[in-house]
């Protein structure tokens, strides 16, 4: 697990301590409370806190004196001064003495979020140098199952690339778990305290993707009732994961290149330039280099994204991981379905190890889920697996390739009679003409 940022709240008012404590706990911080400066110093003797929020006016030692003492114990500790009665003199004094910031109670919720975000960033930056020097063991890789040589090599690459800020392209067949590796890179990077924002580019039309990535202003288009932050904005200080990057249009490629170069953008319908500091990780099951050669993917964008390329092996190249994967999915689905853990017959496991998995880990996962649903609740048997029933071969071709083949086969079946073919495909004639044009289909 990542180490949580720890906070100490120092205030003589119990209600303030409780409120802040609840707020920070709900936000995932490790929080502690002290009712006086003396109690805080005692706690600091045996505990480490990254951030200390202290009231100024307290009986006995006040917040400014506490600030000075803390700075002599550990200079790096971030101290934020809170008070109900702000005066310029005390604020200036606090900042001179090394306070990180100075705030007046009560805060606007957004101010508190910003304050802690900035403080977290400061901690992150100070840890970064040390972190880069250290040999890190990978964290948050529990969902990447397997101990084969191939998977260990990939994890080694993840470890090497995580600490840097370089753009990464993750390639691999569909179902290999590219997103899990993106999560692992983010979780082991200095940006891990900030969001990992995922966008499935293939699932969105060009205009939707534009609005999703850049956000939009109220009234920008029909249905834009409110202002909406885009994914780039949400990923500020964190990482954006663009899945199925090969599917984005040429127009979006230009937009994306511009944002990657400047880290600035404007919301759809807006006019204010927004800056965001994010790292990009992309994933695709296509050969981007080939798409560049075919003129379907911009070369400059390709080189901008392809600083590091991590290839995820297909499951058939790491069959020794199957028993471990099977146990993992059994546990996952039994828990999700509130069932007792089931076992697996030796023969069934053998069958699973003989299959070649065109759908990769996702296919294995679906098989196990199905087997638990249809099984006897005690163990997974050979007959619970869809293997023996010659399940339809899952093609590793893209959706576009499949659509092209299907449209062509229907056209040929009806001797290129557009009306009949359109009726069979359950689309209108215009749509069919568009498909013919799109795939450059010709009567053989």
């Amino acid at each position: 697990m990542n180490k949580k940022i720890s906070l100490l709240i120092v205030d003589d008012e119990e209600s303030v301590r409780d409120s802040l404590y609840n707020w920070f706990i709900e936000d995932g911080f490790a929080a502690g409370c002290a009712e006086s400066a003396g109690a805080a110093l005692s706690m600091l003797e045996n505990n480490h806190f990254d951030i200390i929020l202290t009231d100024i006016k307290m009986p006995g030692m006040d917040g400014l004196e506490l600030l000075k003492r803390i700075k002599t114990i550990r200079k790096e500790t971030i101290v934020i001064i809170m008070t109900a009665f702000a005066t310029v003199d005390t604020a200036v004094q606090a900042l001179k003495d090394g306070a990180f910031d100075y705030v007046t109670k009560p805060f606007d919720p957004d101010d508190l979020s910003h304050l802690i975000r900035n403080a977290s960033r400061q901690i992150m930056l100070s840890q970064e140098n040390e972190q880069l020097r250290q040999h890190l063991s990978l964290e948050h890789v529990e969902d990447i199952i397997g101990n084969s040589e191939t998977i260990r090599e990939v994890l080694h690459e993840v470890q090497q690339v995580a600490a840097s800020n370089a753009s990464v392209i993750i390639t691999g067949e569909s179902g290999t778990g590219k997103e899990l590796f993106a999560k692992a890179i983010h979780a082991n990077s200095p940006r891990r305290y900030f969001p990992l924002v995922s966008v499935h580019c293939g699932a969105l039309s060009e205009s939707l993707l534009e609005s999703e990535l850049f956000g939009h202003e109220k009234g920008a288009f029909t249905g834009a009732v409110y202002n909406r932050k885009g994914r780039f904005e949400m990923a500020d200080n964190g990482t954006i994961f663009l899945d199925e990057i090969a599917t984005i249009s040429m127009k979006m490629q230009i937009e994306l290149l511009r944002v990657l170069e400047t880290k600035n953008f404007i919301r759809v319908g807006g006019n204010k330039l927004i800056s965001s500091d994010f790292r990009v990780i992309c994933a695709t099951n296509r050969d981007l280099k080939q798409l560049v050669e075919e003129g379907r993917f911009r070369e400059d964008l390709y080189y901008r994204l392809n600083v590091v390329n991590i290839r995820i092996p297909p499951l058939r190249n790491r069959m020794e991981d199957i028993p471990e994967l099977v146990q993992h999915f059994i546990k996952k689905y039994c828990l999700a379905m509130s069932r007792n853990l089931v076992g697996i017959e030796a023969a069934a496991l053998l069958k699973l190890q003989e299959y070649d998995y065109p759908g990769n880990v996702r296919e294995l996962e679906n098989m196990i889920e199905r087997a638990i649903v249809v099984g006897n609740g005690k163990e997974i048997r050979v007959k619970d697996l869809p293997l023996q029933k010659e399940i339809a071969t899952i093609s590793s071709e893209s959706l576009e390739d499949l659509e092209k083949k299907h449209v062509l086969s229907i056209l040929n079946k009806y001797d290129w009679n557009i009306s009949r073919a359109a009726k069979a495909l359950q689309v209108d004639r215009v749509t069919l003409y568009n498909k013919i044009k799109k795939y450059d289909l010709k009567q053989g």
Binding site: S19, I25, R231
Partner: protein, 180 residues
Amino acid sequence: MTQKKITLFNFGHFDNDLLSEVGAVAGKEFDAVFTFRKEYVDLSEFFDSSRKQYNGNKLLAFVDQRAGFEQGKLIGLFSVDIFIPILTYIYGQAYLNGKSAIASAHRLSNERYGLARDEKVFLSRLIKEVNHELGHCYGLIHCHTPGCVMQSSTYVEDIDQKNMHFCDSCLLLVRNARDS
């Protein structure tokens, strides 16, 4: 597995049909039997005249106390504006891993922001708040996954940007908490 119980205390004179719709979504999300009932409290003792708002900490403690030996999780739903001492306002709060939560509908309606009344939007925001606060009762902390109902929301626009549902990771944690 026996279904767990969630009870909503209606302190805000909310319409039963509205609460039924909240209950339908929340009950499904938590795989729990969701019931609601009308409750009465003299809110004047929770009113802070200097802030012209109601003290959320005190209301939460009151709901927790009112819960008594009630089984399952409880959420008190209010229509007044609530605050906690360090923040200017809150939409709700809960005891993390605890039994009780509160939520306020005061800042959830479009009218408050000068927009036309929209019952659907209001219901959607209410469901999200109820699911979010109950999520804390099940031990969930704020989540960074875009769209997850456990994302922290400062403004009503933030509430609109998330779903009514948990992301896969949070859902798994809810299921684990429920079964433990």
